[in-house]
């Protein structure tokens, strides 16, 4: 008499359908969450930019951030730049030597540095050093209610916390990029001439021939966008940090990962855009200067 009623246990078909609908619902929820997150991020960026034009932050909030982003990043960026220049020399030398083009090494090293590697690697270093630290600091402030305290005292947290960080990244990351370029060029020159024995005159001559001011400008323009992206992504992750130590850790990691991805995406699109601008203005490929 222990028969099971057919309604008490769902059939295989209904279980499959339920699993399928749950799967669709989960993907739908993830899609909605992603789109909402992009929307929130856009509003966050808009609010930061509107405060930038409304009222500039006070000196006492700007200077510590400029010091943190600019001065404290200088050694690591200089060191990275120098080693990138030297590594490029090592990697390119054997290929170019086989073709008898080792004197062109300066052109390759310097072009790669000023257009791509200088801006991208400097930005990546700064996303790791500055971006993660910003996200962790703001995340801790969120978790310990310091951001709420700021709001409750009639101060706007975006104006007080985000705008100084945004300005520091926007203005100093390009400066650090120029520093990375310079140190990379010196590193490449030192390794090529002093270690690999390439003729100094030809190295410099070919560098001048192939690398123009526009190439340097392209790198610097890119770095403005990278700086803005690092600041906005990192501050946004910090502001929307989940509770607890785990939340802060995740915010710091996410700030670096998202900044890095955004740097690469921006690098691609800015590269295409700026080249298009160049070839539209100078169709013959004439040099800007």
């Amino acid at each position: 008499m222990s028969s099971t009623s057919p309604t008490s246990e769902p059939s295989l078909l209904s279980r499959v359908l339920r699993a399928l609908s749950d799967w669709v619902a989960d993907w739908g929820a993830a899609a909605i969450e992603s789109i909402t997150s992009i929307g929130r991020m856009a509003l966050f960026a808009l609010s930061t930019i509107s405060w930038l034009f409304g009222r500039l932050p006070r000196r006492e909030t700007l200077i510590p951030n400029f010091y943190q982003v600019g001065v404290l990043s200088l050694p690591v960026v200089a060191l990275t730049g120098t080693f990138i220049g030297m590594v490029l020399a090592v990697q390119s030398y054997f290929q170019f030597r086989q073709l008898g083009l080792e004197t062109r090494l300066g052109a390759v090293i310097n072009m790669s540095l000023v257009r791509e590697l200088g801006p991208v690697l400097a930005a990546t270093m700064l996303a790791g050093r500055v971006g993660s630290s910003m996200a962790a600091e703001l995340g801790t402030m969120r978790v310990t209610e310091q951001i709420d305290a700021l709001s409750s005292m009639g101060s706007n947290p975006i104006h007080y916390l985000v705008v100084p960080r945004f300005l520091a990244c926007l203005l100093l990351i390009p400066t650090l990029t120029v520093m990375a370029d310079f140190m990379g060029i010196l590193g490449g020159l030192f390794f090529s001439v002093d270690v690999l024995g390439i003729d100094f005159h030809h190295y410099i001559y070919n560098s001048k021939l192939f690398v123009g001011t526009f190439d340097v400008i392209v790198g610097v323009i890119k770095s403005f966008f990278f700086g803005a992206a690092i600041a906005l992504v990192s501050c946004y992750r910090g502001f929307n940090c989940l509770p607890g130590a785990e939340g802060v850790g995740r915010a710091a990691t996410a700030a670096f990962v998202y900044s890095f991805v955004l740097i690469l995406v921006l690098d691609l699109f800015l590269g295409i855009l700026l080249d298009s601008v160049y070839y539209t203005l100078w169709p013959e490929g004439a040099r800007l200067f």
């Binding site: 510590p64 801790t140 402030m141 310990t144 209610e145 310091q146 709420d148 305290a149 709001s151 409750s152 005292m153 009639g154 101060s155 706007n156």
Partner: protein, 291 residues
């Protein structure tokens, strides 16, 4: 005659405005609901708090007391309904207007929420530096006055919050909250984590702040000693998931003297600190896991 009228008119207008202000409650919640995703924290809250009153909000952890407190100041926006401060809905205001309103509040956070990167002096001076144009000497004097009011010596001014004890942090938080002489003080669990003596010191400071600054206060607390000592009125809120469909989330609203005579098991359990059916639920959970 006409001159007399002119002389009287401003007085009469000022009087009627004062009467109007007194008639308007400082805080009014009209059918406020707050949800986070699918989780409903506040359900149909209707509360009115007149000027000058000190209200203790009591209830078990997770019942929505802090959410209610943050909704007053629009740090959390109602999902439904209106939370009015002085007749105005802060959730619909732009940043500039909201800033103007928020300097009328003082908020003592649960862990004081002092800025780690600043010294005690800089923390207490922060609202002054943001909203008042004062000479450095005046700022320093006011900071020291406020610190003295909460019983802290001048020597703490240069210390960082990390160097202070829990009770000292709370007192610095209180000094910071009071520095702009707010009309409304909000206290989020002011005595939680403090020893009984320091808890009583904080209670006395809440009473002193009320006497010295004639503020309206809302105190979120678990501590019945605090509720009985500082409040004119006690409101108890109950967690939404434990409520029936048509039950009100506010299960008690009255003076502290009526708490002991109120016939509701939930209030009695809270006041006496009895686990009640929570213990049964834990046991049931234990039985299930053993099975």
């Amino acid at each position: 005659m006409s001159t007399e009228l002119l002389d009287r008119e401003p007085d009469a207008m000022a009087r009627s405005q004062t009467e109007r202000e007194e008639a308007t409650p400082l805080i009014e919640f009209r059918g406020v609901h707050v949800s986070f995703g699918r989780q409903k924290v506040l359900r149909d809250i209707n509360i009115s708090i007149p000027r000058g009153q000190t209200v203790a909000l009591i209830g078990e952890s997770g019942c929505g007391k802090t959410v209610l407190l943050k909704t007053i100041i629009s740090l959390i926006r109602p999902t439904e309904g209106q939370a009015l401060f002085d007749g105005q809905d802060l959730s619909t205001m732009n940043d500039r207007d909201l800033t103007a309103q928020r300097i009328r509040f003082g908020f003592l956070f649960q862990n004081a929420a002092l800025f780690d990167s600043m010294t005690v002096g800089q923390n207490v001076a922060f609202p002054l530096r943001q909203h008042r144009r004062l000479q450095q000497r005046d700022i320093e004097r006011r900071v020291l006055d406020r610190l003295a009011e909460v019983g802290l010596p001048d020597s703490v001014v240069s210390k960082k919050p990390a160097e202070l004890s829990g009770g000292m942090r709370k007192r610095v938080g209180l000094a910071r909250a009071l520095i702009l002489e707010p009309e409304l003080m909000l206290y989020d669990e002011p005595t939680t984590g403090l020893d009984p003596i320091m808890s009583d010191v904080i209670n006395e400071l809440i009473l002193r702040a009320r006497r010295n600054h004639t503020v309206t206060s809302v105190v979120v607390t678990h501590d019945m000693n605090t509720a009985r000592k500082v409040a004119d009125r006690v409101i108890m809120v109950y967690p939404v998931p434990r409520l029936g469909e048509n039950e009100s989330q506010v299960i008690f609203d009255g003076p502290p003297s009526e708490i002991d005579d109120f016939d509701d098991r939930r209030l009695t359990q809270f006041v006496r600190g009895e686990a009640g059916e929570r213990l049964m639920e834990m046991r049931a959970g234990g039985v299930r896991s053993e099975e």
